[in-house]
Structures are given as structure tokens and as C-alpha cells.
């Protein structure tokens, strides 16, 4: 059966263009049950995705508020706003919360959870109870981390470098470490669930090369979850034992090696960058073809690239230690390997640009985010190459240049992809449309605010301003004020969607099944989807991204 016939099936039980407000309300997952119990003990992947969405949004707010306070402190050079200890705790909380409680779970735990079964034509993930368990594990970890914040905070930086974290910090390091350790298990469970689901639960006809890129990138991400997370778990457990019992692994005072922790930490935390980046690439690969009305350029190449990047990223962790006493030969190897992973990542933006070429573009909110993502991600990726260059690293390592670089990847990449995805699938998730003009305004605000905040930090870094500095030389004040001013624009850009999206839940127009006329199985079911996803057996499309305008694809010329 062809793609158009699949749409026909959807028409059979509900006309997507003129949805009836009451007819099958009972059937959708949001209204199937109403009790609190039906949410907190649900095994429905869609409801679990919403539990995650609510949790990570709360953490995003905490992370954003601490970031705002950091920017507030840096308006003046002499550290008059907070004490040094308070400042150190603020940036530590910002980092810990944003990395482990927002960025890492952001796209996989919400959109991955919600969409993977729908995209591959499955009723749920392979292990629905494990999926619920992973949310509880996440919340347990979150609880411990919040306890450490409430008791007085942590001041080690999100990197927990030894021996500062084991022997010298007088703050609540252990609860925070326990929290981060536990959260790792929720990543592992989610990754395991995705891998098994993608292998075993695909609908008839849904072969690997008919899968959306979103599924491919989540498969690659899940491999990193499974293979890298146990290393950070081990490292953090050793850190807790070192701090509590002086077992002498990391602290030279007890015979340990002070740099060993950095190796273990980055063996996870560099691949973790791809945990944050790959799902974002998946989101962009769904949005761009939908709004260009064109097949994704180089589908197979992008799919293989996802797996390739996820593999090579395991071999570059040493680029965080060029000036930390690592051997020069190791630095040389890590430098060239980093080039080998950074270039293919950065030039992925060419695929999306080529997809837009000769398309038929609609510049709706999700597309604006996607275009912002393309611009910022390529800058973030290529400045990563500066850092991978040994002589440049010697200068800008641990300066604001690094801060700017990874915010271009994390915020310009992951957060913009998250927001783009949120706007793209919001009608599917909630069954409601948001007000488009508000969406566009906040997409612009975020793009402008982001650049004003973080571009000056590249210059600050090259001028030599070290990161994590509360007190800084007066000649850096102008650029810091500029950066802080930008963050206020960014803040407004973040607050708007929280208002108009929540507003839309009650007052938004009802969404049709496929408001963007997009391809993919998730758009063949009603919005919001029925509790059991598909009312009739889903049929995989013959080719993925079967949009009206075709892109070149090598395989088609062989046949």
C-alpha cells in the first residue's frame, strides 16, 4: 500500500482537517483516564514522556535561574553581588542541573519516548514498566541532587575534578554525586529500551532504511547511553568512596592519581556531548524536510553518520586534557581524532541546507528554530576545531572561549532543536495549536538573545578571561555586560513559549492529525494519539520522507 493510502486509513476514522471535538475524546491517551494514579503509574510511553517533560522543564527553570544569577554577578568585575562561595555554587548548580537533568534527558526522554513507538508503528516501547521505572530512577536522582542544593549546595563545578571534590570542598558533594550516579541508571534503562524497541517492535515493512532519521539518531544515542554511562557510574562511585573513606584512587595524598578522574569523567562526558547532539540532529532532520516539502538530502549518509559519530566520539576524550599533564603523544592522537569527529558533525548542516535548496519553504515556528539551529550548530562545531588544535588549546583552554563554544553546541544546538521539536510535535502531543505569531516572535528573540549572550564570550576567551571567575579584570567588563544583557533577551524568549504553550492546552485551536502535512507514521494517527497508538495496523511508507519534491539519492540511480 502506498503512502497516500495510509493517509486514507486515517481518514476512515477521523477527518484530520475538521476534527470533531467530542466524538472520540475517550480514545486519546490524554483523556483515556483522569486519576493521578493513571499518570504516576502509567506504562504508556506517551504519558511517561509527559512526566519527563514536566520534570525536565522544572529543572530547566532551575538551571536558567542560576545562569541568570551568574550573569547578574558578572555585570560588575569586582564580585560585589555574591560571595565567591555563592558564585561558585551557582555555576555548579547551573552546570549539574543543565547537563544531567535537562540536556541529557531532554530530547530522548521526552520526544524519543513519545515518538519512537509511533514512528516505527509500535504500540509501546519494548519494556513499558522499565520505561516507567526509568522515570522514577530519574526522579530519585533528582531528589538527591535537590537535597544537596537545599542543604547548601555544591561548589566543585559540574566536572567534580579531584582532589578538590574529594578532599578540599566543604560543601554537599556526596548527595550531589549520589544524585548524578542514580540519574545515570535512568539513562541506561532508557537506552536499553530504545535499542530493543527499534530492533524488535518495528511494524511490518518498516525496514531499517525506512526509519526516520530521528529513530536512527536515537538508536545511536542509545548505544552511547548503554556503553558510556557505566563508566561515569563507576567513576562517581569511586569518587564517593574516595571522599568518604579516602580509598586512595584519585587523591595523591593517599597514593591516588589526580588526573585519573578526568580520564574517566571525559570518557563518558565527551560521548555525552553526542547524547545531547545526535537527538537534536534527528529533530532537525524531521523538521527541515517537512517545511521544505522535500525529501531529506542524503538520507542514508545521515543515518550512517549518526552511527559513525556515536562510535568515533568514544576516542576523543583526551582533548580535554591537552594542558593537564597528559603525554604529548596522546595529545597528538586525540587532536587528530577530534578533527575526524568534529568535521563530519559540523558539515551535517550542509545536508539540511541542501534539503532546503529547491524546496518549497514554509517559515513556521519549527522551521525558524531549525534554521537557527543550522547557523549556530555549525559555528559551535567549527570552534570545537579551534579547541582541538593543540597550540590554540594551550591558550583558550578553560577560558570563556570554551564556555562560548559548548553553549553554541548545547543551547544553539540541543536547546533550539528541543524547542523546534516541541513546536513541531506540540499539536500531536496535546491536540492543540499554539498561536503561530507568538512562536515566531520567541524564536527570533531566542536567536538574537543567544548570540548577544554568547558571541562576546568567544572574544572574552581569546582575550584570556578564565572561566569560573567571579572577580575579573576591569578591561573585560564591557563584554560581560553585553553578554548579561543578551541573557535577558534570551530569558524573555524562554518565558514566552512557557506561557503560550500552556495557554494553548486549554484555549488553543484543536489540532488536526497532520497540521504540517508531514510524513511519518506519527502523523497518520489522530492528535492526540489514541491510548494504544494505532487503531488499525500501521503500514510503513515505501520510502522515508516521501515529500512532493524529491532530493537526489544515490541508491535510486542504481535501480
Amino acid at each position: 500500500m502506498s503512502g497516500s493510502a495510509t493517509t486514507g486509513d486515517a481518514h476512515a476514522f477521523r477527518d484530520p482537517q475538521t476534527p470533531d471535538a467530542t466524538l472520540d475524546r475517550e480514545a486519546d491517551y490524554l483523556h483515556a483516564e483522569h486519576t493521578l494514579r493513571s499518570w504516576f503509574f502509567t506504562t504508556d510511553h506517551k504519558r511517561i514522556a509527559l512526566l519527563y517533560l514536566a520534570s525536565i522543564t522544572a529543572f530547566f527553570v532551575l538551571g536558567a535561574v542560576t545562569a541568570g544569577l551568574v550573569r547578574l554577578a558578572l555585570v560588575v568585575p569586582d564580585g560585589q553581588v555574591f560571595s565567591n562561595d555563592t558564585y561558585n555554587k551557582l555555576f555548579t548548580i547551573h552546570g549539574v542541573v543543565m547537563v544531567w537533568f535537562f540536556l541529557i534527558p531532554s530530547i530522548p526522554a521526552t520526544f524519543g519516548n513519545f515518538l519512537i513507538p509511533l514512528m516505527i508503528g509500535a504500540r509501546d516501547l519494548a519494556f513499558p514498566k522499565l520505561n516507567l521505572a526509568s522515570w522514577y530512577v530519574f526522579m530519585t536522582g533528582a531528589f538527591f541532587t535537590l537535597v544537596s542544593v537545599v542543604l547548601g549546595g555544591v561548589d566543585t563545578g559540574w566536572t567534580f575534578y579531584t582532589p578538590l571534590s574529594t578532599a578540599f570542598s566543604n560543601t554537599w558533594v556526596v548527595p550531589a554525586l549520589i544524585g548524578v550516579t542514580i540519574v545515570g541508571f535512568s539513562s541506561i534503562l532508557t537506552g536499553l529500551n530504545f535499542v530493543v524497541t527499534i530492533h524488535t517492535m518495528r511494524a511490518p515493512g518498516m525496514t531499517w532504511f525506512r526509519l526516520p532519521i530521528f529513530v536512527w539518531t536515537h538508536y545511536a544515542t542509545s548505544l552511547i547511553f548503554l556503553l558510556a554511562t557505566p563508566v561515569i557510574t563507576l567513576a562517581l562511585v569511586l569518587l564517593i568512596l574516595e571522599r568518604a573513606f579516602h580509598i586512595g584512587v584519585f587523591d595523591p595524598a593517599y597514593g591516588g592519581d589526580p588526573v585519573l578522574f578526568q580520564h574517566l569523567f571525559w570518557f563518558y562526558s565527551h560521548p555525552a556531548v553526542y547524547i545531547m547532539v545526535l537527538p537534536g540532529m534527528g529533530v532537525i532532520s524531521e523538521i527541515v524536510p517537512a517545511f521544505a516539502r522535500k525529501k531529506l538530502f542524503g538520507y542514508k549518509f545521515v543515518a550512517y553518520a549518526a552511527i559513525g559519530l556515536a562510535s568515533v566520539t568514544f576516542f576523543v576524550w583526551g582533548h580535554h586534557m591537552f594542558v593537564n599533564g597528559q603525554s604529548d603523544l596522546a595529545s597528538l592522537a586525540f587532536s587528530v581524532l577530534s578533527f575526524a569527529v568534529a568535521v563530519p558533525s559540523a558539515v551535517k548542516v550542509y545536508n539540511w541546507t541542501a534539503t532546503i535548496h529547491k524546496g518549497s519553504l514554509r517559515l513556521d515556528t519549527p522551521m525558524l528554530y531549525a534554521m537557527g539551529y543550522i547557523g549556530l550548530f555549525v559555528l559551535g562545531g567549527l570552534t570545537g576545531l579551534y579547541l582541538a588544535t593543540l597550540a590554540i588549546n594551550q591558550h583558550v583552554h578553560a577560558t570563556y572561549f570554551v564556555v562560548a563554544h559548548f553553549h553554541y553546541i548545547m543551547v544553539g544546538g540541543t536547546v533550539l532543536a528541543f524547542l523546534g521539536g516541541l513546536h513541531f510535535w506540540w499539536p500531536k502531543v496535546t491536540g492543540r495549536m499554539y498561536v503561530e505569531s507568538w512562536g515566531r516572535i520567541s524564536a527570533f528573540l531566542i536567536f538574537i538573545g543567544f548570540n548577544v549572550t554568547f558571541f562576546p564570550q568567544f572574544i572574552l576567551g581569546y582575550l584570556g578571561m578564565p572561566r569560573r571567575y567571579h572577580v575579573y579584570p576591569p578591561e573585560f567588563q564591557f563584554l560581560n555586560i553585553l553578554s548579561s544583557a543578551g541573557s535577558t533577551i534570551l530569558a524573555v524568549g524562554y518565558i514566552f513559549p512557557m506561557i503560550y504553550l500552556v495557554y494553548s492546552i486549554w484555549f488553543g485551536k484543536r489540532a488536526p492529525a497532520n497540521p504540517w502535512d508531514a510524513r511519518g507514521l506519527e502523523w497518520t494517527v489522530p492528535s492526540p494519539p489514541p491510548a494504544h497508538n494505532f487503531l488499525s495496523e500501521p503500514k510503513a511508507p515505501e520510502i522515508p520522507y516521501d515529500y512532493p519534491i524529491q532530493a537526489s539519492e544515490s541508491q535510486r540511480h542504481h535501480s
Binding site: 578540599f168 597550540a391 588549546n393 572561566r467 578591561e475
Partner: protein
Amino acid sequence: MTTSDLALQLWPPAASATAVETDWLILAFTVLTLLLTVPVFVAITWFAIRYREGVRADRSSSGVRSMPIEISWMLIPFLLTLIFFAWGARLFFISKSPPADAMVVEAIGRQWMWKFQHPTGQSEINDLHIPVGQAIRIRMTSQDVIHALYFPVLRMQMAVLPDRTTEMWFKADRTGTYRMYCSEYCGTDHSRMDGRLVIMTQAEYAAWLQDSGAQQGGQAGAGRAVYEAYGCGNCHDPGARVRAPSLAGLYGRPVALADGRTVVADESYLRQKILNPNRDRLAGGGRQVMPAFQGVIANDDLDRLVAYIKATGPRAEQEDPR
């Protein structure tokens, strides 16, 4: 300071050939980055206008196979960037191979101060004076957490590790006073662990060595930095929240002890009181909260600190050298 206090600075000063070459490297790399990114920005904007829905345009497939395009836009940038990998590696390895005639300066990092010892024995706190045109090799170690010694003007930094010795070398080619930082986060006062790199002519440096070696005032001046680095003022300065006894004018004065004795605050008393404050408790019933510095403060620092306390006259406030 030559580091001008201008509100806006856009390019940092450079004081070595390596620093200048690093600047060329990053400038050339930026040109390549622009070549790789600007077309994307322009293309996205142009396509968004040219191929907007409803605009009449040629949308027919070009029929070009995607694989050759994919491979070329991945390989060509990769090979081009490898030039910069090689250039950067070369520069890095030069900065790892000190010449045999380099002057060796020993550096110690500690929460939150730097100490440098010159080959002729003189040492200084938080400042480093070096001669221009002379290869300098700094051998560093840390007494507590990981620090990093960073000289932006030389485009160079290196971690300072506990229990290990790391090195950096450079040859400055421009005199002046520049900034020096700790660039590895090291706890509470990380951002106060900064100082000055003073690059002097050979003659000035020789004079400076003589000065700092001979003058007791130099010793006391360095002692002030020790006093700050150990946070003594947090309790002992007038107006501090913990009202510890003032040290101004203490030297040579009689001190009443809790056991009824009265002793003169001489050099050995000051020394003992710093190393082990629990001995010889003071009269007056104040709570003894000061930690012992036995094994914490190095002998030469203790000398300087005592020299500083001796030098503080009855005037409580010393001018802050910062």
C-alpha cells in the same frame, strides 16, 4: 600596567614569538571557518527567500547523485582543517621542547596563591618577574588541588598538579606588565588567584633580584601577600566578623596568657602561635578558633609572614598593594 584599563579590548597583547604565531594560526583558521560557514548562512537566507512556498522557482531535481557530493563536502573540509592540526601540533611541540640554556623558575600553586622561586634563590608571591629575551622554563607543582598557570600574553597555560611536576617554557620578547591567572577551577577564591607577569630588561631584572634579595622590606612586602593568601585578615583585620586579636603593633609588646604568665610577642612567639595556636592560650576568655598551620605553611612563607607582622606598626591599616 600596560594592560590598559580600557573598557573594551578586542585583541590581547602578545609578548613572544609563539604567541604571535598562535595569533596567525587562529586568524588563518578563522578565514577557513568563514569559508565553510558564510556560504551556509548566505544559502539558508537566499533559499528561504528564493524557494519560499508560493514563489515561482525551478524546483526540478538536478539529478546529481548525492554520494559524491556528501563525500566531497566531508573530505575537503577535513583535509583543509588538517593543515591547522599539523600547524597547531608543530607549535605545541616547540612549546614542549625547552632549550638547554633556559633559566629555571620553580613555581608552587596553592589555594589561593602562587609562589615563584628564581634560580638565584629569591622568591616572590603572586608576581613573576622575568628578563626579556631569555628562555624561561617554569617547573610547577601544587600543594593541594589542581591549579593551572596561565599567561594570556604568551598564549600559554599548563596544569599545576599535586604530587607531580609539570613544565612550560617560553621566551618573552616584549617588556611590560601583564596578567597571570589560575585557569583551573580550584575552589572558593579561584578568581583571586591571579597576579602579574612582569617582563623586564636584563638590567632591570638584575636590579630587581638584588633588591628583593637584600631588602627586609621586600621580605615584609612578600609577607603581606602571604598574609592575604592564607586569609589571615579574614579574622585578624579590624572589622572582621571573627574578632581575632589585632596584629598591628603586636610585635615586641607584652601578651597576657590564660595561665597567668605574660610573655613578650617576639619572633619565636609569633612563629609558635601561627604553627600551633592551641598552645599558650590568651587571657580574656576568647574562644580559640584559629587552625594550626603546622605542616600547612612552608618555612620561607612563615619567615615572610613573621617579617610582615614585625613590620606592621601600630597603624592597623596597611595599604592594599592591589
